[in-house]
């Protein structure tokens, strides 16, 4: 028997072959006309209007705030998973402990809410 990791590894290699194979098939079948590098066809498509200014700029900070709160909660999920698996064996102590943990996070969420981090500006 192959180990689980070996199975996943081989499967991953095979899976990469699928889109790559599709690209190769398309490369063999598709039309390949010569395109002038200054052709209007290669300009970013913004509904026909010429693009103005650079695209790669500093972006709205809103997204960053969400990413920060997301990190805290995602780590919470990682902590909760092993606890949830063994919940029925761990007993009352672990349950109460996790209640306290969740309460702290709810307070954090409430604080972020109060400070307006969850508002879209």
């Amino acid at each position: 028997m192959l180990s689980h990791s070996a199975t996943i590894g081989i499967f991953l290699l095979l899976t990469v072959c699928f889109p790559v194979g599709a690209m190769v098939a398309a490369w063999m079948l598709r039309a390949k006309p010569k395109v002038d590098p200054d052709d209007k066809k290669l300009v970013p498509y913004e509904c026909g209007v010429d693009t103005i200014g650079p695209t790669w700029i500093r972006f709205k900070p809103n997204y960053f705030l969400y990413a920060l709160i997301f990190l805290a909660f995602d780590i919470e999920v990682v902590f909760l998973l092993p606890w949830a698996v063994k919940f029925q064996m761990l007993g009352l102590f672990a349950f109460v402990e996790m209640l306290i943990f969740i309460t702290i996070l709810v307070i954090a969420l409430w604080y972020a809410w109060k400070e307006g981090a969850l508002e879209w500006h």
């Binding site: 689980h4 095979l14 889109p19 290669l42 969420l109 879209w120």
Partner: protein, 349 residues
Amino acid sequence: MMQKIETIFVDLADWFIVLLQGWGIPLAWADAILLLVQFLGVVAIVLFNITILVWLERKVSGFIQERPGPNRLGPFGILQTIADALKLLTKEDIIPSKTDRWIFRTAPILFMTVSVMLYIVLPLGKDMQVVDLNVGLFFFISLGSLSTIAVLMGGWSSNNKWSLIGAMRSVAQMISYEIPLALSLMGVVMIAGSLRLSDIVAAQGNVWFIILQPIAFLTYFIAATAELNRGPFDMPEAEQELTAGAYTEYSGMRYALFFLAEYTNLVAVSALASTVFLGGWQGPGLPSWLWIIIKTWLVMFVFMWIKWTLPRIRMDHLMAFSWKVLIPVSLFNIVATGFGLYIFKGLGG
């Protein structure tokens, strides 16, 4: 007879291994060759389901909007998807001049790879799993969240304002809805006591988890809709304002890969929903692999129904709904499940 149909795929796999060993191939190599066959099976399942799904989605949307939908190619237009696929396959490949080429090229391949990898842990019938990981559910969630990166890569490297806005919205939405998605599965894990998907299915022998965990099913379903960027949560590719969001600059096969991967994800997420909440492959009468197909298609139909019935939700409402409604509700569900287990199962008493 029934027993034969039930175990047909498992028997075929066993027969194949015995056959290969009969030819003097060592067991490890025979397993690897079987894995190749399983991979081809997964690809066949994916392609077949998507072909039908894309056609059905257009038919359902046509039905809901009181128009015929595709009806020219084949009976009821069923060959429409194949014609579309051939068209995309033979289209000229355009990479705009200002793109970040390598990231632009890798993004669709990464997206498709991640989506197909999801199927490795899904139980598609009794004993029909490529690999029965002991952290199967966790594997599924973590791989599923990788598609966020592919969308961001595609949107950022396109050097197009629509793409960038679409990608940013998509990332914000997907990370926000990932938390309620994972939290709503937590209640199920607490009852089943395992992350192994076959254990979770086995734990639903008497009663399905949709009955024990109705709130979790609702939050999972809503969060999954948002994770899939499907309507009413399709702000990232709101076609009236962003043309196609992160996929605007993609054409031909690259676009097709994104498009296929979205539907691959839809099938996988629906299959997970039926595995975790609707009893998986268990059901009376019919063989197990038919039951999971029926349940998955029912869930997918509900996804379509919702997409074509509800109007799109505004970005600020969308984010607020996840953080201010879904996360508190799913946290409450975990606590309630904990108390419920103590009361009804008499834990610790």
